[in-house]
């Protein structure tokens, strides 16, 4: 299988798969689409805004088409994973601010304002990204292609990019209830270096789990 897999940078033509990737990664195996809930939007509405954000082609965050590498099998995109060097975008802004600007720009004002009452719920699991590090975020593989080493191949390609960009180190956030992902990162040399826990009673409505790990290599 690995010989038949081609890893390449994502393009605007891949946007629909990237939207699927972001939604699946946000849900992380649950039915919980916290991003939609935070802004009181339906899943379909939030999908259309994620697409709009990707179409803005802002580089340097997890809503950037240019951050994504995709895996193709026989011409079909089957997996995607985003990665970028933190803070080294055109405007030298933290990716979290680029993301916030995109969300604020693309979503209706009233929906953005609805998030205010929920800040205390989501804040404990917002992990700050370190400038100059290579960040990995939002991975997804079509279920028919899981367990075939495709995600490992994309991570290898990101590791090569991180080396070529002379990134300080690589960082990824993973929920503690996702042992498969944790094992995949461990195989690629990542180690758990931080643990973030939310004790807010409503956490489970907005996140797949209440404990998030920081892994680095």
């Amino acid at each position: 299988m690995s010989e038949e897999i081609k890893i390449r940078k994502a393009t605007l033509n891949d946007i629909d798969f990237l939207v699927d990737t972001i939604v699946a990664a946000e849900k992380s195996g649950t039915d919980n689409f916290g991003l939609a809930k935070l802004f009181e939007l339906s899943e379909d509405e939030m999908r259309s805004y994620i697409k709009a954000m990707l179409e803005e082609e802002v580089d340097g965050c997890e809503f950037s088409v240019s951050s994504f590498l995709v895996a193709e099998h026989q011409g079909k995109v089957v997996s995607a994973f985003a990665g970028w060097v933190e803070g080294q975008n055109e405007d030298e802004l933290p990716s979290a601010i680029l993301k916030s600007n995109l969300v604020g720009y693309c979503l209706p004002v009233e929906n953005v304002l609805k998030s205010q009452s929920k800040l205390e719920i989501v804040k404990p699991l917002q992990i700050e990204r370190e400038e100059g590090t290579y960040q990995l975020e939002y991975s997804f593989t079509n279920p028919d292609y899981q367990g075939k080493g495709i995600m490992g191949a994309i991570i290898d390609a990101h590791i090569q990019q991180a080396v070529s960009f002379s990134a300080k180190k690589m960082q990824v956030h993973v929920f503690e209830n996702n042992p498969a992902a944790i094992r995949t990162y461990e195989k690629k040399g990542f180690k758990v270096t931080g643990k973030y826990k939310s004790t807010h009673p409503l956490t489970s409505e907005y996140y797949p789990f209440n404990v998030e790990l920081l892994m680095e290599q």
Binding site: D91, I97, N101, G104, Y105, L113
Partner: protein
């Protein structure tokens, strides 16, 4: 609306969003100077600025805001 009036309205937004009534806006102030200024509150602050002043920022304008002085200037230019 003159610059002082803009600063007055912005100050009220900062006090409410960042939950600190002692914030005094300075041109060179950045997110690092304000305790609760993170990505989420940043998004809310920008949205409240747009709503309060009846303006809409371009994405490029948002991504070029480095400090509070930039925000004051871009609001001022949009109200002219």
């Amino acid at each position: 609306m003159n610059r002082n009036e803009i600063i007055e309205k912005l100050t009220a937004i900062f006090h409410e969003v960042f939950n600190d009534n002692t914030i005094v806006l300075r041109d060179e102030m950045t997110a690092k100077d304000v305790e609760n200024w993170d990505s989420l509150t940043h998004m809310l602050m920008i949205t409240k600025v747009e709503k309060t002043f009846g303006i809409k920022f371009k994405l490029k304008e948002l991504n070029r805001l480095k400090q509070v002085g930039d925000l004051i200037s871009v609001v001022e230019s949009k109200l002219q």
